[in-house]
């Protein structure tokens, strides 16, 4: 086992996939010679050549549209969109075709592909590089959406996504690319899609987070522990499908919930989770399910991004309010 950062773990996962599955192709902008703008494909072009690690023209609709065709005709494309904020030219291809081809061809020609995209804020990136629009994709039947919060999960989830027969949107929290190093197993292993990770066991309140917000929620849990509050912290990992069992079990245990996400509040995934909890654990609730989220405003340029993104103290305050309800 090696100590790897998340971006190294992703690169390692891609290398294993290219090595073990001859149908895997990597395509995107700057993924070849440059090794990706975040170095997520570092060294792969040299190792596997221009036919398998492919610098494409600058055209997201083209990247995803041709990936669908490649998938239909026998390849397993792992397409990179350089930043999630630039995925929109491909929205049509993802929503209309990738998500529905299985249904529309009644299983004959499913679009089995992976779309990787860095997302989220906190790194003082330029304008429009920091959005968290996961809900747009979670909302679309036919797509799976995952996001890791640790290097080990990053590699395992990526390989699970590549192995999955359906289109998977694999979101990479930029803020966590290099913030943590941990031991990552070698070779092929999978972290199953649809299974959440229990970050901490606790009794008083359930915290639900994913991607960039996992360390924030964890920070709050640690702070609260000193005040005698024990948090049950769930890292969703899989945004669709949701691990309903883990969520509901936890809520039944604690009776209180705070959901943390970086995306704006309105119609964010927190709303869906709240409804799910109401449907399955209403009678266990001791307080309203509460959300700590980005505000309902366009993600600001970086001078105000720390005011926009949920922080440890905002989460702690919300927890205390819920406990005092």
């Amino acid at each position: 086992m090696k100590q790897l950062t998340m971006v190294q773990a992703i690169c390692d996962g891609l290398r294993v996939a290219l090595d073990q599955d001859p149908s895997v192709l990597i395509l995107g902008e700057d993924v070849g010679k440059n090794g990706g703008v975040f170095r997520a494909t570092e060294g792969l072009w040299n190792e596997f050549g221009d036919d398998r690690v492919i610098d494409t023209p600058l055209a997201e609709a083209g990247i995803i549209g041709t990936s669908i065709g490649l998938a239909v005709n026998g390849f397993k494309p792992v397409a990179e969109i350089q930043f999630m904020g630039f995925i929109y030219p491909a929205f049509e291809q993802i929503v209309t075709h990738a998500a529905r081809l299985r249904t529309r061809t009644q299983g004959a020609f499913p679009a089995s592909l992976v779309i990787r995209a860095p997302y989220g804020g906190g790194i003082r990136a330029p304008e429009l590089h920091c959005d968290s629009t996961e809900s747009l994709f979670v909302h679309i039947p036919g797509l799976k959406v995952v996001t890791p919060a640790t290097p080990k999960d990053a590699k395992g989830l990526l390989l699970a996504a590549i192995q999955d027969p359906d289109p998977v949107i694999y979101l990479e929290p930029m803020k966590l690319y290099r913030s943590i190093k941990e031991e990552v197993p070698e070779g092929w292993y999978e972290v199953p899609i649809g299974k959440a990770r229990k970050v901490r066991e606790g009794e008083d309140i359930t915290l639900i987070a994913w991607g960039t917000m996992v360390p924030v929620a964890e920070g709050a849990a640690k702070e609260l522990e000193k005040k005698g509050v024990s948090c049950d912290l769930i890292d969703l990992r899989s945004l669709y499908p949701l691990d309903e069992e883990t969520i509901i079990q936890s809520v039944k245990k604690t009776g209180r919930v705070v959901i943390v996400h970086e995306a704006p509040k309105t119609a964010g995934l927190g709303a869906e989770l709240t409804a799910l909890i109401n449907e399955h654990a209403f009678l266990y609730l001791e307080a309203p399910v509460t959300r700590v989220t980005g505000y309902d405003a366009p993600v600001p340029m970086f001078a105000l991004e720390d005011d926009f993104r949920p922080s440890v103290s905002r989460v702690s305050e919300a927890v205390q309010q819920v406990l005092a309800f």
Binding site: E29, D30, G32, K33, N34, G35, V37, D55, T56, P57, L58, A59, E60, A61, G62, G85, F86, Y88, P89, R124, A125, P126, E127, L128, H129, K265, T266, Y295, D296, A297, P298, P300, M301, F302, A303, L304, E305, D306, D307, F308, S311, S313, R314
Partner: protein
């Protein structure tokens, strides 16, 4: 010359600083003021650019997209525009923005991550940098269309890179521009690379300019490091547009001397010999300075004086930007709608009360 599909390009001033025959004709028609203006702007823009890179290294601004090497393409084209014309830039067009009348301090604010830096002063028809590639090109076509519908003489120009020509938005914009014959100029700075990807991976056509043929309007390729040629080609395109003769696609062949942004390492994908060729032998400012000196229009002393003047202006703009009072957290709600909805008002109130950060 317009409308020809040449794989070579229009060049009036050689890298050695010598005027061609056609160049002489253009040169002789320029006022002394204009001649010095090209130099002053290019030199100013370069000093601004180098300073910005330093500011980024010092952590005083965020990731910055340097333009060094592209001064002639930006200055030559922008100086051909009038106050009434509309500009839809990408993120590398600081030179264009300054000439259009965007205060330097605003440009610094933008790179400090402050949205206030997006807003031009009254009367400046300049949109904020368009970060998603090629998306601004249809806007320019729409604005040009509007002037046509209103029977005004203003034109609209979109600035974009060679990579942008791969996006659907570029092609759709070209098509609309051709179909509705709008007074738009689609100005491509072909600097050879889209981050690491060379133009040969963007397109199987050898040039950008020739793509205009398919949309049935002129496409012209110009030496983007020759400020005189860029200016003249742009001027002709603007005149055609104002005369109701429709759009022009201009491909200014140039090179960015540095990395894509301060976050990039260009040595990973560009051979040192290629960079050296452009830096040492094809520099737009060196070339033009040589001409001015040979013509007796610029002395070493005047050059130093101008550089000192630029430095003073840049220093003062940095000071202004850095001392500008930061917007409070709740500012992130300002202007989300013409009139905020009750939901935004409530959230804004909460943010104001609680404060941000922490």
């Amino acid at each position: 010359m317009l409308g020809q599909l040449e794989t070579t390009y229009v060049q009036y001033l050689s890298p050695e600083g010598k005027l061609s025959v056609a160049g002489h004709a253009v040169w002789n028609q320029l006022s002394a003021e204009m001649k010095i203006s090209f130099y002053r702007w290019m030199s100013f823009v370069r000093m601004f650019d180098r300073r910005s890179v330093i500011l980024q290294r010092q952590g005083r601004i965020g990731t910055y997209a340097a333009l060094e090497g592209q001064e002639a393409a930006q200055v030559g084209s922008a100086l051909a525009l009038s106050k009434e014309d509309w500009i839809f830039p990408s993120y590398r067009e600081h030179g264009v923005a300054m000439i259009a009348g965007m205060p330097l301090s605003q440009i610094f604010l933008y790179w400090m991550g402050r949205v206030e830096g997006c807003k031009p002063p009254e009367g400046v028809r300049l949109l904020p940098p368009s970060v998603p590639i090629a998306t601004q090109i249809p806007h320019a076509v729409g604005a040009a269309w509007a002037s046509k519908l209103k029977k005004e003489t203003s034109v609209a120009v979109a600035y974009f890179g060679d990579g942008a020509t791969s996006e659907g938005d570029f092609h759709e914009a070209c098509n609309f521009a051709g179909v509705f014959r709008v007074p738009a100029i689609l100005f491509c700075q072909n600097n050879g690379y889209a981050i690491s990807v060379p133009f040969s991976r963007q397109s199987a056509s050898p040039t950008v300019a020739e793509k205009a043929k398919a949309y049935n309007f002129p496409g012209i390729r110009v030496d983007g490091n020759d400020v005189l040629a860029v200016y003249d080609v742009m001027k002709q395109a603007i005149e055609r547009a104002r005369a109701g003769e429709g759009p022009t696609l201009i491909e200014a062949v140039t090179y960015r001397k540095g990395p894509h942004t301060t976050a990039d390492d260009a040595t990973r994908y560009r051979p040192a010999s290629e960079v050296e060729e452009w830096v040492k032998h094809k520099d737009p400012l060196t070339r033009y300075t040589r001409l001015l000196k040979a013509e007796g229009l610029l002395s070493d002393a005047e050059e130093r004086e101008w550089e000192a003047e630029c430095k003073a202006q840049i220093d003062s703009a940095i000071k202004e930007a850095e001392s500008s009072v930061p917007a409070p957290p709740e500012h992130l709600f300002a202007h989300v709608y013409a009139k905020l909805t009750p939901n935004e008002l409530r959230q804004q109130q909460q943010l104001r009360k609680r404060g941000g950060r922490r």
